[in-house]
Amino acid sequence: MFVLRGVQRHLRFAQRPDLNEKFYKMSGKPEPMAVFSVFQTTFLLALLSLRMYQSQVFSEPLPLAPKSLEISIDSTHQRLHLQWRVHNLAYHRELKMVFQIEISRIKTSNVIWVENYSTTVKWNQVLRWSWESQLPLECTQHFVRMRSGAADAQIPEPRFWGDWTSWEEVAVQSSLGHHPLSVFPKDKLVEEGSNVTVCYVSRSHHNNISCYLEGIQIHGEQLDPNVCVFHLNNVPFIRDTGTNMYCKMDPGGVIKGIVLFVSKVFEEPKDFSCETRDLKTLSCTWDPGKDTGLLTQLSPSYTLFESFSGKKVICTHKSWCDWQAAPDSQEMYNFTLTAGNDLRKRSVHLLFNLTHRVHPMAPFNVLFKNVSPTNAAMTWRVHSIGNYSTLLCQVELYGEGKVIQKQNVSVVANGELLVRNLEPYTEYVAQVRCAHASHFWRWSEWTRDNFTTAEAAPSEAPDVWREVKSVQGHRVVTLFWKPLSKLQAKGKILFYNVVLENLDGPSTMKLLSIPAPANCTELALDHHSYQIHVTANNSVGTSPAAVITLSRDPGNKDVEEARVKGTKDGFSLSWKPQPRDVTGYIVEWCEHPRDPRCDLQWKSLGPNTTSTVVSSDAFRPGVRYNFRIYGISTERIPYLLEKKTGYSQELAPSDSPQVHIGNLTASSFTLSWKGWPAEPQPGFLRGYSLYLKSKAVQCLPGSEKAVLPDGSVCCKYKIDNPKQKTFVVQNLQPASFYEFFLTPYTSAGEGPLGTFTKVTTQDEYSRILIRILVPMILCILLLTILCYLKSQWMKEKCYPDIPDPYKSSVLSLIKSKENPRLTIMNVKDCVPDAIEVINKREGARKSLIETEPTKPTYLHLLPTEKSYPGPGPCICFENFTYNQAASESCGPVPGPPKEQPSQLGLLTSSENVLKALGKTYVNSLGEIPAGETNLNYVSQLASPLCGDKSSLPTNPPEPALCSEYKMQMAIPMGLASPPSITPLDEGAAAHSPCPPRSSGSRCAAHGEQFAQVQSERGRAGRWTLHPGWNFQCQ
């Protein structure tokens, strides 16, 4: 043992040149030492050979150290790949060995990984081992060393480790260049949910570096002053374009980043299955599962491996793969489907017998032979599967979309099946599929074809009905029939034969052939009885005949119409059973009653039926349908039994009747309407609702409160009798305002609310007033008409142009008041108090305007202004109608001339008139021809005391009322006004229809002054203002 250990020491010494060198350096005398060493080595080698031989014999451990250790770096996968050899292993010798590998980070003492790698070592074999680092290799240095030991069972315990190899440094950082900042790992691909370690490496630890993931700052741990590590745990899938992670260095603002690609978890293939259609090719399919989301970066690959044959196929599709089977040599197959990408590999296995996975191809050449009305022979062929393989085929027969027959047939090559119990002239679809009979795996696809059975004679008589109309003494019979159903027709109906047989006359038959698809014909018949036979014909034969008899008697008797209530399902009709023999019943109705064509429908029922439900898709709500129920006698004569009418669904009225108001009184009014509505009615009318709005809060008896849709409250009268056409609204308030609205209602409800009609009840006293006022108005009207007709007479009588004072009624009144002193004043009694003398200057015409107006000269007959400080006692009028004689005794009493303008101003109603007057006045003065003479008539309107000179008031406190005319007088022109007065302009004239009989009093009342002068033309009663004259009302 001691020798062995010494040899081992020597071996180690020999294997370590550094020790050898040291040894040589220490010795200082190389030559004698070298000789000694060579000798010693030779000796020891001889001993070693002997020892090795002995070790085989004695099974002692042999230290074989790993040599030529090489380390390569895979940055993408963060892996270190180690490869080495074991020297000194005997040729063709295998030895089970253990290699202990240590990995340190940053420094050799910081061991982060120790692993024992056991393997069988051959001579000169290159051994490989790899290690994946969680930390990117670029982040810091790594160191690797290893040692070996024997693990062979032949070597007895205890076994010893060999010496460690020296530390091998893995320094990727040195190859990074001089970038101030770097982030690792680059473009890392990971699955979601995994943990990722990221680091940054900076050249200077004085910088402030912050890192962000998805814009959010992340914090790591400082590995060394220049390296910071970030552990990202359970990373989620964010997007298929990757996630930017970046670090920013301050100052400088350098940004460095990486893109982290997180894929979804690569799923295991599902539903892996293989089958064959011809025992030659196996088709394997699977569901690849969900997409990883990173198809560009992580394209999956699929590989199919069969373990018995050891063959392998790389699949070009991600969900299926074909495999060439060898049916003659291999029956069992054991497949392994391996799916993988850079991150993960998934495998699924499948073991099967080839013959148990036969999926036959679809049958072909499906044919139908010997097709009769009820049978057909079906044949088909199948693809052969191997030799003598029997297939089970399934045949399905479809009629009108439903499976009507299903049969299984065993087939080797050709299939055949007789299909029975078919309907004539019917289209069928037959389909067939097959599967392996011995080991059912899967049905083939269906192969289908259709065929039509042959025709047969119609089996049923057509359903016939008639409509009889009387036109000009003849019967027009419209004969209807329903087309036979497919089952009844048993072929294509080509024509209908109608045979007319006169039952009353000699036995004559008339045949009408009506081509299909007609379903009616019109016949003009006399009033004899006829029996009509209708048959349907196809290419094979004729149907039984449908018989209907038209009797001579029309048979229309008055049958009362009954109401029937319809539902969504139709009308349920029932009738009384007939005592006499009937062969059946017919229910007849119009499907479109509002249409003139009506679309007559009927339903034939058996003799024992007394009720039926008539339903139709054509029935519409709000349409009234009329039904007639006929019984068919044994002679095939129909007779009317009952009439029914009804709605499938009643609707509320859509409009309201027009209502008229009558008998409007103070407390009531009557409403009348013409019924509602015009046809068609959407339901049976049940009555009317009257809505009455009023100011009264309480509703009157017979009505109830109702709330209208607009929220307003009113009173509602219910009129239950639909035939009622009038309604009296009573107990109303006089002279009150009401609003009403009448609407009909059916069982479905009332009609829509429309505009309310307004009505106001009469006042209680208005009638009395009318009774009084109407006669009065009539009387007035009569009087007015009379006055108008007798206006001339009236004028003469009541107000002649020249009033005769003696005829004045006033006089009689005065007399009646027994005042004998008051009489008509005589002109002679009038004592003029002054005479106005108007000086007329010849030749002064042109200078008239420049000079002052001529001042009239007053000859005061009575005491002057001084003696009479008040206004004059009498007023004088001019009136040309009076004779000249009168003027001799009485002269005019003109007013002071200085007041002329103002007096004119008061008299005219407009300035134009005033101006015109002034102008006329001026012109007229200037145009007065010399020597012309005119008469001025002055009428004096006396005060009540005018005739009594002695009683003239000296200073009357108030203006005296002039209520009557005095004697009028004519004044010679020499004393009076300007010799000629030109007639005034028309525009300046003030017209008055009558003499100003009361103007004196009016003037007096107002205390104003005005003058009215009648021109020569004014004899006919026209009064003209004369500017040169004035008269006073005082």
Binding site: K186, T241, N244, Y246, I255
Partner: protein
């Protein structure tokens, strides 16, 4: 006679020296060295209004450059949109220069180099973006449209150079190949190039 021969020798040596100097300068420079009388033929006749076409194409490129730039950096995600100065700054060192105040010929030659530089670079960007942002169809479309216009512009500039200035060949430089770079670096290089392109095309369009 000897003197004459000496003079001729000196002159010949001088000319040779000049030629050598000229060749030395030309070898290191991308300036065209096509002789004036060299054959210069284009496959198709040039458009009569070539300069207008060039101007229009430049205007078209200038009009769409900013939108392309925005579209690009938006598609790259954070931190690109918020760190344009650091990640997308026009720090392209080997980008061909352009002197707006040069002659038309020199401007056309420089334009040719720029377009020749940009064309493949845009191709690289388009290729990268189709992988990195497969759903950014608008960006792909704009990149393709820009590349199409550049191809037309390159053809027009070459036509002009050939027809008017008899320049048949221009030495060009290309941008860095991004195929070996990491994804973040690809994004950054693309952004820088488009930023530079946006900046340069404005000057070029203005110069023409």
């Amino acid at each position: 006679m000897k003197q004459c021969r000496r003079i001729w020798t000196i002159l010949r040596e001088f000319l040779s020296l000049l030629l050598v100097l000229h060749c030395t300068h030309g070898a290191g420079s991308p300036l065209p060295i096509t002789p004036v009388n060299a054959t210069c033929a284009t496959r198709h006749p040039c458009h009569s209004n070539l300069m207008n076409q060039i101007r229009n194409q430049l205007a078209q490129l200038n009009g769409s450059a900013n939108a392309l730039f925005i579209l690009y950096y938006t598609a790259q995600g954070e931190p690109f949109p918020n760190n344009l100065d650091k990640l997308c700054g026009p720090n392209v060192t080997d980008f061909p220069p352009f002197h707006a105040n040069g002659t038309e010929k020199s401007r056309l030659v420089e334009l040719y180099r720029i377009i020749a530089y940009l064309g493949p670079s845009l191709g690289n960007i388009t290729r990268d973006q189709k992988v990195l942002n497969p759903n950014a169809l608008s960006l792909h479309s704009k990149l393709n449209a820009t590349a199409d216009i550049m191809r037309g512009l390159l053809s027009n500039v070459l036509c002009r150079l050939c027809n008017k200035y008899h320049v048949a060949h221009v030495d060009v430089a290309y941008g860095p190949d991004t195929s070996g770079k990491d994804v973040f670096q690809k994004k950054k290089l693309g952004c820088q190039l488009l930023g530079k392109y946006k900046q340069v095309i404005a000057v070029v369009a203005q110069a023409f």
